[in-house]
């Protein structure tokens, strides 16, 4: 049987710098490496000695695509350290800005980064040449997500209005209501997106994943919930460190997150969907059913449908939040620093994001730990590739390589996020 090596020096259409290396020997996959050469930026170290109030703005800079996720984790972790709970309309506004980020990030991935793979285009601009209406719909969806983030946060990338305890300034009702009509259009466009992506060609490929996501009794998980899996895990976010660990391995690419009791696992839209289908809004459930997507989906290539279903949900819920919004009396809840450890787990667009901070009595950060979704998915990505290549070895070389790239993009990997935990030595064969 044949031997070959597949190499992608620089993975395109992912956020950050990574490559791919797959070695096939005598018809069997001998080696799979998702290589990460994004340089490290040492966020956990540079957070030490900073004031707790600075953490949302500093950690936002880990990722330009999902800054809200970092801001939300930072504020929740600090509030857990200081024993403060933020409820009512402030909590609703936090959901709103986070849902805006989901819409923006998902539209970016579905239309600009992932769909071109299914249709055989190098990028969305080339796709737009043949499908101008589709590209326009995707860009407008993305724009509306950004508008929601900016309406609450001041700007779309690295918003400035989020603080521990709430916000610096509350939006007036009249600043948010114009978004309702836009979001109603977006909800329709998202339903149309589900229909469109469901008709794309999908490889017959499924694996028995351990899905890990948040679960909340009443709502599709965003800011809060217990960490659960489809294999029996059910813990509060504070116990994350007791069940998950990161391995810095002598393997040329990356550090892997694993479950102490179960090894590899998968986070992100597919995990959220499988664990929380019943909590999706009725139009989102309806869109999934109409598209023929079962409440259990184990085909990672179909994550593009799940992202689209989540966009329907996010638009729908955002409309409800704005309609019910009445500015509360104060823009934030006062917090008083105390020596403590704070934890938070929230659902970034790409899956659960974990922050843990040690803080002293002056509110100075003494210790920080951040685990982004992409670090958690790396093992699953490599396993997908190993199995995919084994099954589709007979595909022509260029097609197999492209599909391997596509298999990585199934996870919408954010290498910029993951890299503060990743070994960046550059090895280019």
């Amino acid at each position: 049987m044949k031997s070959k090596t597949l190499k992608v020096e620089y993975l395109a259409r992912v956020e950050g710098e990574g490559g791919l290396y797959i070695k096939v020997k005598d018809g069997r996959v001998a080696e799979v490496k998702l290589k990460i050469f994004e340089p490290p930026r040492f966020f956990e170290a540079l957070l030490r000695g900073r004031n707790f109030a600075e953490t949302p703005d500093i950690t936002a800079r880990i990722c330009g695509i999902c800054p809200v996720a970092y801001q939300m984790c930072a504020v929740h972790a600090m509030e857990s350290a200081f024993g403060v709970r933020v409820g009512g309309q402030l909590r609703a506004l936090r959901r709103l800005i986070y849902l805006g980020e989901w819409i923006e990030s998902h539209a970016l991935h579905v239309y600009l980064l992932h769909a071109p793979d299914f249709l055989g285009y190098e990028d969305a601009v080339r796709m737009a040449g043949d499908h101008p209406d589709v590209a326009e719909r995707g860009l407008q969806l993305k724009k509306i997500g950004n508008e929601v983030v900016a309406a609450v946060g001041g700007r779309e990338i690295h918003p400035i209005n989020v603080r521990v305890g709430g916000f610096y300034r509350l939006p007036e009702k009249r600043e948010l209501t114009p978004l309702v009509g836009r979001l109603e259009w977006a909800r329709e466009a998202a339903v149309e997106t589900v229909r469109w992506v469901a008709a794309l060609p999908f490889p017959a490929f499924e694996r028995d994943y351990t899905f890990v996501a948040l679960r909340h009794p009443e709502e599709y998980p965003v800011n809060e919930g217990r960490v659960v899996s489809n294999k029996g895990l059910d813990i509060p976010g504070e116990e994350y460190d007791a069940h998950f660990e990161e391995e810095h391995v002598e393997h040329s690419n990356a550090l892997h997150s694993v479950m102490k009791e179960g090894g590899e696992y998968c986070v992100g839209p597919l995990a959220r969907y499988n664990l929380n289908f019943g909590l999706l809004s009725p139009p989102a459930q309806e869109a999934a059913r109409t598209a023929g997507l079962d409440p259990v989906c184990r085909n990672p290539f179909k994550s593009i449908i799940v992202r689209s279903v989540e966009m329907v949900h996010a638009c729908d819920e955002a409309i409800g939040i704005i309609n019910d919004y009445e500015p509360p009396e104060e823009p934030f809840v006062e917090v008083r620093p105390r020596p403590a450890t704070g934890y938070a787990c929230t659902e970034a667009p790409r899956g659960i994001l974990y922050h843990r901070y040690g803080v002293d009595g002056n509110g100075t950060v003494t210790d920080a730990k951040i685990v982004p979704p992409t670090a958690q998915n790396q093992k699953a990505i490599e396993s997908d590739l190993r199995e995919f290549v084994s099954r589709f070895l007979d595909l022509p070389e260029d097609k197999l390589q492209w599909q391997c790239e596509q298999a990585v993009r199934n996870y919408d990997p954010c290498i910029s996020c993951a890299t503060h935990l990743i070994k960046p030595r550059i090895v280019r064969e």
Partner: protein, 264 residues
């Protein structure tokens, strides 16, 4: 530029969060027009197609933090007619330049279990420390309107119009009441480069310096004003040690205040 062919645009990433490249994709209403006006020849975050250089315009995001990137940026320069550094990482070293004030080995061992696998430089430095830069666009993140202005200016062979005055001028333009005068909120606006539209003061908070130092700033005078508002030296140092910590004016004022704090 040769009028018969579209100018070739390249987008490069060094150490960064990808947010400034995203600003290009966030031009939702103009993106397809931009793609019509230029040939997007190299932009891995958006396309798997790669066209060989030379390129007419290179946008460079991120700071230089590895020995390999010291060499790579030279290659980029050689391949580019014009090179524009975009964002606080590329123009000042970014938040990762906080390592410049500490022992980097300590940073490595804080984050990584096996520090021997890590290859990194002791300092995070801006692009202009390594190669000639034709223009610097400030911001953490950059303003996408200003990015469009830069693209348009280079396409037409003129200098981009991005005013170098302070955020204070923008506050006056949008009609913000001064948060420092009226509410006593410490604000970096008087020394910070315009470009955000005076966003933070419009949200009842002081500017935190995303766009780095303005042209000819006077940070010493501002620090004294902060002192009068009751802000301690340590907090003043932290304010300058943000996303543009390594920009000269901010770096010097931070170091001066640190010295004073140590003496007192």
């Amino acid at each position: 530029m040769d009028r018969r062919r579209k100018p070739k645009l390249a987008v490069w990433k060094f150490s960064s969060c990808s947010g400034c490249q995203l600003a290009l994709l966030n031009l939702e209403d103009e993106l397809l027009q931009v793609a019509g006006a230029v040939d997007i020849a190299y932009f891995p975050e958006a396309s798997r197609a790669v066209a060989k250089g030379p390129y007419d315009l290179s946008l460079v995001e991120g700071s230089i933090t590895t020995p390999h990137d010291v060499e790579r940026i030279k290659d980029v320069r050689r391949e580019s007619k014009y090179l524009v550094a975009v964002g606080a990482c590329a123009t000042a070293g970014g938040i990762q330049a906080l390592r410049n004030f500490k022992d980097v080995n300590e940073f490595v061992s804080t984050v990584y279990a096996s520090p021997e696998y890590i290859e990194t430089l002791a300092k995070s430095t801006p692009i202009a420390d390594h190669v000639l830069v034709d223009f610097e666009l400030r911001g953490c993140p950059i303003n996408k309107r200003q990015l469009l202005e830069v693209l348009s200016a280079f396409l037409h062979g003129r200098r981009p119009n991005t005013p170098p005055h302070s955020v204070c001028v923008e506050c006056k333009q949008v009609g913000n009441t001064c948060v420092m005068v009226a509410q006593g909120i410490p604000c970096l606006g008087p020394v910070t480069h315009a470009g955000c539209g005076a966003l933070c003061p419009a949200y009842n908070r002081g500017c935190y310096g995303c766009f780095g130092p303005m042209e000819t700033p006077n940070p010493e005078a501002l620090s004294e004003q902060w002192g009068r508002l009751g802000v301690g030296e340590e907090e003043i140092v932290r304010a300058y040690r943000g996303f543009n910590a390594n920009a000269e004016a901010f770096r010097k004022e931070g170091e001066a205040r640190e010295k004073q704090d140590a003496q007192s």
